[in-house]
């Protein structure tokens, strides 16, 4: 700072044009949207873990046939209701790599069931990248390679076998292919219906709005499950598994849209009064364009979060329907179809492992719930905690 002869003060520092620019009040908020979302999302530990878990699970779906040691409907008549086997590393105190003890069926004439005592003498080493039943790798290439399988004369039922001697572990992987995608298709149907119907009702208002609202109220007031049951009972019994799968997921979606439509509608009612909507309309945008380009992006985050929270309901719905025998049917494999085997108390008591498919159901449903909660919190990065 120097004083000029005419008594003015002048800064001696060189002129820096950057100084002139106004700084954002919160420099940490001056970042692209996705970064803000990520920063906030990162703080939800449970949501993060759930996202990771779901990503891994969905990535495994195309590789189900490769990871599973058996194919979905491969029967082992000599090992009906075999108990879960342990993969061990040490045989008589010596490390010999992963192996199982072979099991041979013995009749138990007291309880009239088969028992499978393990043969402790002959450890059977697991084989890796071995040949087994044929499956479609990535749903494209026919192959018979598996990640691991049991050698000749031994079996590897990590989570036991069911009433036809099919491997529960393998079937859970195959079941994931249907059980985890049923929600995705259902949510697509529900989204298309919910957004278009709710959007039209909210945007146009008036008589259409009144009419749509009554439909929503009626559909929401009927218990879902009996309606699901009735609709899936209407599916002709001669349809193939693929057709049944699609129709079931569409049925699940058909009854889910009212909740979404209601949210979209109320949001539209408030948003359509905004200036930017009027501006778009004055410039001659058609209603469909205003809805798609100006209104929907405003709450896409909300939509994503509510999708995450709707998927578990559909997964549980599919499980319940298949469990009751009105959903997917054998030979299709889904978690609900598998649980159908565990329907009575006897299997819970004697063969508890037939109820194992319940665990993936619980984990996936929980993960979607946590992820949805975390997303709902973090997708609006400017909101305060």
């Amino acid at each position: 700072m120097t004083q000029l002869p005419d008594e003015h003060f002048v800064d001696t520092a060189p002129y820096d044009p950057e100084e002139e620019r106004s700084k954002p009040a919160r420099p940490d908020l001056d970042a692209p949207n996705w970064l803000l979302i990520w920063r906030k999302f990162r703080r939800h530990k449970l949501g993060l873990i759930s996202a990771l878990f779901l990503a891994v699970s969905y990535l495994m779906i195309p590789f189900a046939g490769f990871i599973a040691p058996y194919t979905a409907n491969e029967r082992n008549p000599d090992h009906i209701y075999a108990a879960p086997q342990m993969v061990r590393l040490f045989h008589e105190g010596k490390f010999i790599g992963p192996f199982v003890y072979p099991e041979n069926a013995v009749r138990d004439l007291e309880q009239f069931r088969w028992r499978y005592p393990s043969d402790r003498e002959n450890p059977a080493k697991l084989e890796f990248f071995c040949e087994g039943g044929t499956h479609y790798f990535l749903a494209l290439f026919k192959t018979n390679r598996h990640l691991f399988c049991a050698p000749e004369g031994a079996t590897v039922f990590l989570w036991g076998a069911d009433r036809l001697g099919r491997d529960v572990f393998s079937r859970i992987f195959y079941g994931a292919q249907l059980s985890m995608t049923v929600g995705l298709i259902g949510i697509t149907v529900s989204f298309i219906l919910g957004i278009s119907i709710g959007g039209i009702a909210g945007y146009f208002g008036g008589a259409i709005d009144w009419f749509v609202n009554r439909i929503i109220e009626i559909l929401r007031s009927i218990p879902e499950l009996p309606l699901w049951l009735a609709l899936s009972a209407a599916v002709p019994s001669h349809w193939g598994p693929v057709a049944v799968f699609f129709i079931i997921s569409i049925i699940l979606g058909l009854l889910d849209w009212p909740g979404l439509a209601r949210a979209v509608r109320s949001k539209f009612l408030s948003l359509r009064e905004e200036e930017f909507v009027r501006a778009a309309e004055m410039m001659g945008a058609k209603p469909s364009r205003v809805i798609r380009k100006h209104l929907l992006p405003n709450f896409s985050s909300h939509l994503i979060a509510s999708a995450m929270l709707s998927i578990p309901a559909m997964i549980l719905g599919e499980t319940a329907l298949s469990f009751l025998g009105l959903g997917l049917r054998a030979p299709a494999v889904s978690w609900g179809v598998m649980l159908n085997d565990a329907q009575n108390l006897a299997s819970i008591e004697i063969y508890p492992w037939t109820a194992i498919p319940m665990l993936p159901v619980i984990f996936v449903v929980l993960a979607f719930n946590f992820l949805g909660d975390a997303l709902r919190d973090s997708l609006d990065p400017y909101s305060h905690d």
Partner: protein
């Protein structure tokens, strides 16, 4: 009396809704190609029992299944005279079950009351569990009480009802000697009411109520907790604390009352899911409600039986929602019946 007018208005809307629902139900029941009787005729023909065909044809006439669909619907509800004059659901004739070869009213008879009983018990359970736990979770938010209740709630939400039922049945029987299956001990079946029978029913109700109510209770608890937390952060609560109001009173006196409204209003959302759950759990646990009958009827295309049960279940939900709306009106005079919609 505004409340009376509101109640009447609400009742009228409910009746309208019920009519629409009945049409929907009838439509769904007729979705599958063919019907029970034509299947039966085909079967009888195939096995050469021509004499049976005549009876089936008679039944078809009797229940006017030979009429066009819209007229079948009107006859079923009782708006249009059938072969014996007006005799539809409105007149108390619920139709004929082809599968059981009995009138529908005989099959569902007591099961209707049992369904109501199970669902009322489940609602009571939801409130009894959600109210104290929700308040506790809000008052002690971010402590182990909060986290434990949230964890249990999430687990209840994520576990398929029917499996929870099976597992609880097994362990309940093993460790607490709770009875397995049914809604009463077999010796009371068809007996008149007595203290012992009531006791037997109550004991049998424990597990079904728990299973049906858990997920509803979990959702309800979360909502109450959120509402109460919102309310607790308001300045008037601080004022009350500063003036020396005790911690219990500072929560119960005003914040809880405000947070309580959505709690009552929510029954409209809760009821459909509770009834869905009760149908599923009844099938698994063999409760004598209408659940198992519905499943059989749907599987065999026994349309009058299935249609009536679906209609009954929907009606039960609608009545419950209506009652809760009227109750809410009584509870909170600020709610105006005219502009009730948002």
């Amino acid at each position: 009396m505004p409340i009376l007018r509101f109640a009447i208005f609400r009742f009228a809307t409910m009746l309208m809704t019920l009519v629409v629902v009945s049409a929907l139900v009838f439509f769904i029941m007729n979705l599958p190609p063919g019907d029970y009787l034509s299947n039966l005729i085909a079967e009888l023909r195939a096995t050469g029992q021509e004499s049976g065909v005549a009876k089936v044809e008679f039944l078809r006439k009797e229940y006017s299944l030979d009429q066009p669909l819209w007229r079948q619907y009107l006859i079923w509800v009782g708006f249009y005279p059938g072969p014996h004059g007006f005799s539809g659901i409105l007149q108390g004739d619920f139709g004929w079950s082809f599968e059981f070869d009995k009138p529908v009213s005989e099959i569902v008879g007591t099961a209707l009351w049992m369904t109501v009983l199970v669902n009322v018990a489940a609602i009571l359970f939801v409130y009894m569990v959600a109210l104290p736990l929700g308040v506790l979770a809000a008052a002690k938010s971010k402590t182990w009480v909060d986290y434990t209740s949230a964890f249990v709630g999430y687990l209840g939400l994520a576990t398929p009802n029917f499996l929870l039922a099976l597992i609880l049945f097994y362990y309940g029987h093993r460790y607490f000697n709770l009875p397995i299956g049914g809604l009463m001990a077999p010796e009371f079946e068809g007996e008149p009411m007595s203290a012992a029978k009531v006791k037997s029913v109550l004991i049998h109700l424990i597990i079904p109520t728990f299973v049906i109510g858990t997920s509803g209770a979990a959702a309800m608890m979360q909502r109450l907790r959120a509402n109460l937390l919102d309310e607790l952060s308001k300045p008037y609560v601080d004022t009350a604390r500063a003036k020396g109001v005790g911690p219990v009173k500072a929560i119960l006196k005003y914040p809880l009352r405000v947070a309580f409204n959505p709690f009552v209003a929510d029954i409209g959302n809760l009821l459909p899911s509770l009834i869905s759950g009760s149908v599923l759990v009844s099938v698994v646990l063999g409760l004598q409600t209408i659940g198992p009958a519905l499943l059989t009827a749907l599987k065999t295309q026994d349309q009058f039986l299935a249609g009536f049960i679906l209609l009954f279940v929907a009606g039960l939900t609608l009545i419950g929602t209506m009652v809760s709306d009227v109750l809410l009106m009584l509870l909170d005079p600020r709610i105006k019946y005219g502009g009730r919609d948002r």
